[in-house]
Symmetry: C2
Subunit: 319 residues, 2 copies
DNA sequence: TTGTAAGCGTTATCAA
DNA sequence: TTGATAACGCTTACAA
């Protein structure tokens, strides 16, 4: 396989000139340029990008950490990131963690080893101190409010969203409200639970642990939720569901079991995915693609910034 | 940032010895090893993996081309690939093409430039000749039958699956059968259409172009299908739907419009995703995760092989 | 406008 | 067991 030196020899020029042609630098005579181009054709030459990386100390590769890609929330975030990556001529390295810290560490390690220029962590499992230790190796962007931490982030105010949604339900007359969430730990989940408890406190309502359903990620998880609710003596009259997928699953399940929506139970989904429009589910719109695009921009900018994204309640038929 | 030479100096050994320690080679005295390890600690040393790549000519990176990651079919394929990648200490570089050939070319270019060791193409847009031209740069694995082409592949027999499913419907008394598909072009789509036409011919049934619904990718696309069917004078009595997502969307839509399933229209989905079990949809199970795992194995093996995966019809309530 | 030569940080070969 | 030293293939001062 030919390299830049072979080309130089063939074209009767120096390697520098070849490099200039390769990188579209000015100050190359048409004549020599032509000779180089011909040599490239003749040898079927292809740059060894690893040599470029080594020489430049950059890879044009951005790492993306997410628990799973087969969930619309993360898939849409990824879509936004990928869109910007394409426009800016970057490639993405994917780390599917299944929330395993060890896999997150692998991504951080790639940053250490300079295989990626920056790292976007869509959902964090490891401690903040570990993140901070790795900032010396390159930008790390998170999806939670990092103001005052010297870490970049794009985020929505989960506390406020949750609180507002609960208030909305309360105003509609709901006093026994539960919620469904993916994992219980994690910064965003913690904020939502805080909002939930503050809301209950504000109106002197009791906290029932069984009103909080975790491990709700996919459509089919809606089934578990309804199964549990059916067993309850005093089921909640409304549910905040942090994923439209799960909300849709719940709606389907309620149809199956003849549970009236919103009559017997009201539902608010999250994200405003197409499925929620189709099934007429009231939802909180989160512009995930836009968030993803912003995450990418922060990853390449190098400067630390914190960007809050605003959301919108979309009133449909399930409340 | 310290490099291997600095370590050598600090530890009072040669760079070779440092390299040996770094790579767990034998033939290093405990004493020197300790000295090197101490230098590593002291300097917070981290390997520059790009130098390794350049030196070795390999990156332990596998490229994965897919049209979109926010579709269960590809997400599950990706899951299988990612699983094996993790076990074998490879990382994945993702190429979301949206079926754009230009983006597929970028992936092939990365193979040329040695940034990835192999490429898995889950759904191909470019011509076969382009693939063949790039085989010289590394293994390329496809998801369609490539027997006799000197290209590795893992695939299911879409022709047979389609034909068998049509036969099954026919035996249940259906004579006017349509089908829903993602894109009309593409090798697998072509095989399915061939099966469809052969089936019609076998029983002397007419081909109605309006019975073929394309651009059916997501849940919400089921709506379009039903909208069109409702307008038909002579709607099909059964539908083969190449994605459980779309099948589920169709089922939901039929409920909304009071269309009886399977009474007025029978449905067979594809993939056996959780949603199909939950909604009791008859479906063709395709072991996508297993397929993904096999794709990865072929990518790293270097040998050319063609692996057909078998499928199973799961009878539920929509036929 | 062109070229020389010094990096970039490893690994691999070979001799000691 | 150890160490010089030559790759690996490109970019980039610097000099001309």
């Amino acid at each position: 396989m030919a390299n830049i030196r072979d080309l130089a020899k063939m074209a009767g020029v120096s390697v520098t000139t070849v490099s200039r042609v390769l990188n579209h630098h000015p100050y190359v005579s048409e004549e020599k340029k032509k000779a180089v181009l011909e040599a490239i054709k003749a040898t079927n030459y292809h740059k060894n990008i690893n040599a470029v990386h080594l020489s430049k100390g950059k890879t044009k590769l951005i790492g993306v950490v997410l628990p799973f890609s087969d969930h619309p929330y993360f898939a849409l975030l990824l879509k936004g990131i990928a869109k910007q990556a394409l426009e800016n001529n970057y490639k993405l390295v994917l780390f599917q963690t299944d929330y395993m810290e060890s896999r997150e560490m692998e991504a951080l390690q790639m940053l250490e080893q300079k295989q990626i220029d920056a790292l976007i962590i869509c959902s964090r499992s490891c401690g903040l101190s570990i993140i901070k230790e790795h900032l010396q190796f390159g930008p790390i962007i998170l999806c939670e409010n990092m103001k005052g931490h010297q870490i970049s982030s794009t985020f929505v105010n989960h506390y406020k969203i949750f609180f507002d949604a609960l208030m909305y339900l309360y105003q509609k007359g709901h006093k026994t409200i539960g919620y469904c969430i993916g994992r219980k730990s994690g910064a965003n989940s913690w904020n939502r639970d805080r909002a939930y408890r503050d809301f209950l406190k504000k109106y002197g309502l009791p906290y029932y642990p069984e009103y909080v359903f975790d491990q709700c990620f996919h459509f089919e998880d809606g089934e578990k939720v309804i199964d549990q609710i059916k067993k309850m003596d005093k089921p909640p009259s409304a549910l905040l569901v942090t994923s439209d997928q799960v909300a849709a699953g719940i709606v389907i399940c309620c149809q199956k079991h003849q549970i009236a929506i919103p009559g017997e139970i009201a539902i608010i989904g999250f994200d405003n995915e197409p499925i929620s429009r189709m099934m007429n589910i009231t939802t909180v719109e989160i512009p995930l693609v836009e968030m993803g695009e912003n995450l990418f921009r922060q990853a390449v900018s190098g400067e630390i910034s914190n960007h809050e994204i605003s959301v919108k309640l979309i009133e449909r038929g399930t409340v």
